[in-house]
């Protein structure tokens, strides 16, 4: 209790010290981010009538429905796909991060910039690029047909593989950065010490490098993994109609099924997982900060 009281006291003092100019910004954040977010949370406890209206009747049914077999299956499928995509990003991203961390001088920054420029072109365009390459009429199939490697176009798009490629394409750099910064923080003398003590390169990698970066890499992976679960456009444009994906199922609750309370429950669950990852990250930062101080 006293903790809560302290907390509200400190909030009050903070509120008093905030200068007038900052109030615009703070009110804007409360109005345009916090309140809409709580509308979603609140909506998840309401009920939908048969006619698609919302009834103000507080209940947890939407959360129970989320754990219904149908949605559970979607959830498991989505978790699995996102897990494989995150792992693939890690496998491909690690050498990239390693290469960048080893570079000296301007190439370091240039490499990072080179990696990120495609991500500042529009998201839809990146998806369209993948469609142009992998579609039935796409470059890949045109070439395969031209060189008579196949007789009929290979179907990659509108399957699970399409979603998988789309996920890797769009999330890869966001995993390179945390791995890169974990490698950067690694004290080079640690590796030297390991060599001096007679460890080989492989032994050093598994016994010195990996244990020292694993937490940073894990948290970085979470921040790729969680948004993947909520991905809507990638499964919509690259996946087939049959492929149910969590983010798509969630958005469809709002637009086609007209079941806002259920969609809100899914959105709330996703945000809670995200917040959980944030807490993990903070704890990790604090830990590594203390380790440095000591």
């Amino acid at each position: 209790m006293s903790y809560l009281k302290d907390k509200s006291d400190s909030l009050q003092t903070a509120a008093k010290t905030i200068p007038a100019s900052a109030w615009f910004f703070m009110s804007w954040l409360v109005l345009m981010t916090l309140i809409p977010f709580f509308i979603i949370v609140g909506m998840s406890f309401l009920e939908r009538t048969e006619f698609g209206n919302i009834r103000f009747h507080f209940n947890f049914d939407n959360y129970l429905v989320t754990f219904n077999v149908v949605y559970l299956k979607v959830l498991l499928k989505t978790l699995w796909l996102a897990l494989i995509a995150t792992a693939s990003c890690l496998v491909v991203g690690f050498p990239v991060a390693y290469y960048l961390a080893k570079q000296a001088g301007p190439m370091k920054q240039m490499g990072l910039i080179l990696l990120f420029i495609p991500f500042w072109t529009n998201f839809i365009l990146r998806i369209y690029g993948i469609v142009s390459l992998l579609g039935n009429n796409g470059l890949l199939n045109q070439m395969l047909l031209h060189y008579q490697i196949v007789d009929s176009p290979v179907r990659i798009l509108y399957t699970r593989v399409g979603v998988y490629i789309g996920l890797i394409y769009n999330y890869l750099p966001f995993l390179v950065v945390p791995v890169y910064s974990a490698l950067e923080k690694l004290d080079p003398t640690l590796r030297e010490a390991s060599f001096d003590l007679g460890a080989g390169r492989i032994q050093t990698f598994f016994k010195v490098v990996i244990p020292n970066i694993k937490e940073g890499v894990f948290v970085g992976s979470l921040f790729v993994f969680i948004p993947m679960l909520g991905e809507y456009v990638i499964p919509d444009l690259l996946g087939g109609a049959k492929e149910a994906f969590l983010g798509k199922v969630m958005v469809d609750q709002f637009f086609t099924m007209q079941n806002w309370p259920l969609g809100s429950a899914m959105a709330t669950l996703l945000s809670v997982i995200m917040l959980f990852a944030l807490i993990l990250q903070n704890r990790w930062k604090k830990n590594s900060g203390e380790a440095h101080a000591a």
Binding site: M32, I39, I113, L114, P118, G129, G230
Partner: protein, 261 residues
């Protein structure tokens, strides 16, 4: 040793190729006589045709208007916030920090859906202004963090000196603080502009039926299928986006944010 490094380097360049290939092919495709045939020869016809067509100019205009207004709005809000909060940043409880980070951290789908519900419950008509507000709602926090860095670099004695010489708080802001952080303000504005211009998902949720930005137009054409018009529009969009990101990278204040995506 040497061979291993060569391998890592090769993987790096292969990844870069993988990331750029789709975009380069989209550009290439815009000049093909038959977009479904890479050997069909080149033509400028589609691009020229597009210049006469309202399907380029209307969405482009809408996108630019939204980006300019929302960037200006978010820069005003974020800069005011940073000017007010930076001096007392150490005293702010973690709750405040989290609130400021929230628009950056929440998955875009959640931001879009929550704003959609918010607008619908307020019975606001979805369209131009809801998109402007929605864009400013996430970019204001980006602006805030850029501006905090700029203000930290300032010498606090400058403000004190101005006050000692009799300037009112308003005057201190307009005559001392603002001129000194102006390069930062411009960098932040460009970043907010780019975020808005490139945004698809938030616009998709908050635009309603009537409004079409350039990314929304590309999306709706994509659902129909590959057409020369789609290829032409994509070509223009890539040109503009690349131009914007190159400016962002060249500016010290915004470069860091480009790398965070």
């Amino acid at each position: 040793m040497q061979r291993r490094n060569r391998l890592v380097e090769t993987i790096f360049w292969l990844v870069i190729a993988f990331l750029y290939l789709p975009l380069f092919y989209v550009i290439f495709q815009a000049f093909l006589v038959d977009p479904h045939n890479w050997k069909s020869g080149f033509t400028m016809m589609w691009i020229i045709k597009l210049f006469d067509s309202p399907s380029l100019w209307l969405p482009l205009g809408t996108s630019l208007e939204i980006a300019v207004i929302s960037a200006t709005l978010s820069v005003s809000l974020g800069t005011l916030g940073a000017v007010g909060l930076t001096p007392i940043a150490a005293m702010l409880p973690a709750t405040f920090q989290t609130l400021i980070m929230l628009p950056i951290l929440l998955p875009e789908v959640i931001t879009g859906l929550s704003l959609l519900l918010f607008f619908l419950l307020l019975r606001m008509e979805l369209g131009f202004w809801t998109v402007v507000i929605a864009h400013a709602s996430f970019s204001a926090s980006f602006v805030y963090f850029i501006m905090v860095e700029q203000i930290r670099k300032l010498d606090p004695q400058m403000n004190e000196a101005a006050r000692d010489l009799g300037a009112k708080p308003n005057e201190v802001f307009w005559k001392v603080t603002l001129p000194n952080i102006l390069p930062g303000v411009m960098g932040a504005w460009l970043l907010a502009f780019t975020l808005s211009f490139d945004d698809f998902l938030i616009s998709f949720f908050t635009s309603g039926a009537g409004l079409t930005t350039l990314p929304l137009k590309i999306y709706s054409l994509m659902r129909i299928g590959v057409t020369p018009e789609l290829n032409g529009l994509s070509f223009f969009m890539i040109l503009i986006s690349t131009f914007l990101v190159l400016i962002l990278v060249s500016k010290e204040q915004s470069r860091k944010w480009v790398l965070k995506g």
